[in-house]
Amino acid sequence: MSQFLQATIYGLLQGGLLALIAVGFSLVWGVMNVVNLAHGSFVILGAYIGWKLNSAMGLDPFLGMLVAAVVLFAVGYVLQRWLINLVINGPIFITLLLTFGLDLLIVQGMNIAFSADYRSIKTSYAGDSLALGSVRVPVGRLLAFVIAVIVTFALVALVNRTRTGLSIMATGMDRGAARLMGIRARHAYALTFAIAAALAGMAGTMVGTVGTFNPAAAGGFTLLSFVIAVLGGLGNMYGALVGGLLIGLVEAWGGQYLPGTWVNALAFAVLVLVLIFRPSGLVGRAYYAARQEV
């Protein structure tokens, strides 16, 4: 029993962090129909920023992540405004390829800049854990989880309540109309991408605090973002949260009760099944029909 509880807690905490990673990915996909294969590399880049700040000037990662967010916001804005926008109207594999190329560049860049060594951001407290009976709740992960959830809700608020957010949504739904309403699509897109990158960077710093990372780890996060975004329904930010928690739990439980490493197959099985039976995601409806009516 306590084994189950422990797995559940751990899964939820992990899931919260995954959600924060995926929510931006989902937003970008939903609003401008770009699947950003470089998303994972943003996460790792954020991790390195947090790590540098920590090892060089002893800045606490939970503050460092703010810097990471700012830096990646800038990076994201520039990339979208002056690069991705150039092919945004192309067929899907054009944007897929472009972001794949970006991924190669960033990952290799990090390899050259920071070497492929495994890093981890050291704090005095992140490793400790609160004991609730037989179950342990790791402080670092708990903190990361709380922040992740807060940020996700903040993002939802931003998008649904503020003018900026609405302009983004409007552009996502119908660019032509949005333009008529005087919204600068280029800017709105760049903003969207910047926000996604910033969140990824934040999450990255926390990933680096609770875990270990090196440039090669980027791909894994991109893949998870896929799964979560689809589970939650594209552009559906609450969906991303739910999807994240779900994947966290599925992996924790799967790891607990499946032999070998079948758990790895599990996430993808879930992905494919959801796509087949509920392609618009588990939560609400996605942005546009996933299926041919025919």
Partner: protein, 361 residues
């Protein structure tokens, strides 16, 4: 799809270019009476190319043969992907699953069931094709990115399955095909043999591409690519056509995977289901010109040659450079080299910068 609900979707879809490439180029417009030589020219060139490649072989060192074989391999893979991704417009990002399936089927058949390679090769192709039908039926109902992601999920999942049945596949430790001693069911072909085999596969793939690009079936695929509703409305059984296309591309990819496994002797899930292989296929097709036969051919040769050259001359930073090149190519030639030239010849507009405007926001 004129209903209030779906109506909005299609509208936005078109605005966002969800439907795969809707290029304005008209392929060599065919009239009812096409001169005979024009119809046979491509085949003549194909035969010629084959002979040249055979001639080339006698000029290569054994290891160079292997390097060239790799190019042939990617020509075949690119042509395979082009059938589903290029002609039909369904971006399969899990294409490598057929590669892995073909490879592992061959490895298992040869090491466990003692089948000889040639039987295994044929069987691998069939298995891959059947798998294509199996996953195609549910997944080909998905559009755009959804299809891409779903296929990716299948490929990644399949790798994990292979990882988790070590009894059959050797799991992460890999599986070896007996090539020496009495367990060896087929004598190892050596670099000479594999050069020829890969050449045959490449020629086969190109030939299939040429047929598809001009026959009735190919017409259906192109129609689906352009507008699936309209295609269905003119009597094309879109489901059947799409699944057939997926199976066909799976078949070709499976054959290559099978050959690859035998050539490598020992294979590992990580490599046989490596998403990089899929991405390479896509890059080659897109850069060359998707939906054409020449495009993937050129794309594969150029990119494989280039990456090999970079690797040998920029040992430390070649992937970095490759990334840059891909970005540049995608931005300057989003429609692919062949389509660009074709288009430019029609419009007389050769400026690459003008070309960039094509998909710009």
């Amino acid at each position: 799809m004129g209903s209030p609900a779906t109506g909005r979707h299609t509208a936005t879809d078109e605005a966002r270019g969800t439907r795969a490439d809707a290029t304005e180029i008209v392929g060599s417009s065919r009239s009812a009476h096409e001169p005979v030589w024009r119809r046979w020219l491509p085949w003549g060139l194909l035969v010629l190319g084959a002979l040249v490649m055979l001639g080339l072989q006698s000029q290569l060192y054994s290891g160079q043969e292997r390097t060239v074989s790799a190019i042939f391999m990617f020509v075949a893979l690119a042509q395979g992907w082009n059938i589903i991704g290029g002609f039909t417009g369904y971006a399969s990002f899990g294409q490598v699953v057929f590669f892995g399936l073909g490879g592992y089927f061959t490895a298992v058949a040869m090491s466990h069931w003692g089948l000889n390679f040639w039987v295994s090769l044929a069987a691998s192709g069939v298995v891959a094709a059947l798998f294509g039908v199996l996953i195609g039926l549910p997944l080909l109902r998905l559009k755009g990115h959804y299809f891409a992601i779903a296929t990716l999920g299948v490929a990644e999942g399949m790798r994990e399955v292979v990882n988790n049945v070590p009894g059959l596949t050797g799991g992460g430790a890999g599986i070896s095909i007996p090539t020496v001693g009495n367990q060896a069911t087929t004598h190892y072909l050596g670099n000479d043999g594999f050069y020829l085999l890969y050449l045959v596969l490449a020629l086969l793939a190109v030939a299939v591409g040429m047929l598809v690009s001009r026959n009735k079936f190919g017409f259906a695929l192109r129609a689906i690519h352009q507008d699936e509703d309209a295609a269905a409305a003119v009597g094309i059984n879109t489901t059947r056509a799409k699944v057939a296309a997926f199976a066909l591309s799976g078949l070709l990819t499976g054959l290559v995977g099978s050959t690859y496994a035998f050539q490598q002797v020992t294979i590992f899930p990580e490599r046989l289901f490596d998403v990089d292989i899929t991405v390479l296929m896509v890059v080659m097709v897109v850069i060359g010109g998707s939906g054409t036969v020449l495009g993937p051919l050129l794309g594969a040769v150029a990119l494989q040659y280039l990456s090999e050259w970079l690797r040998q001359n920029f040992t430390e930073v070649h992937t970095f450079i490759l990334g840059g090149i891909i970005i540049a190519a995608v931005i300057l030639l989003p429609q692919g080299a062949v389509n660009y030239v074709r288009e430019a010849r029609q419009s007389g507009e050769w400026s690459l910068l003008a070309n960039v405007r094509r998909y710009r926001l």
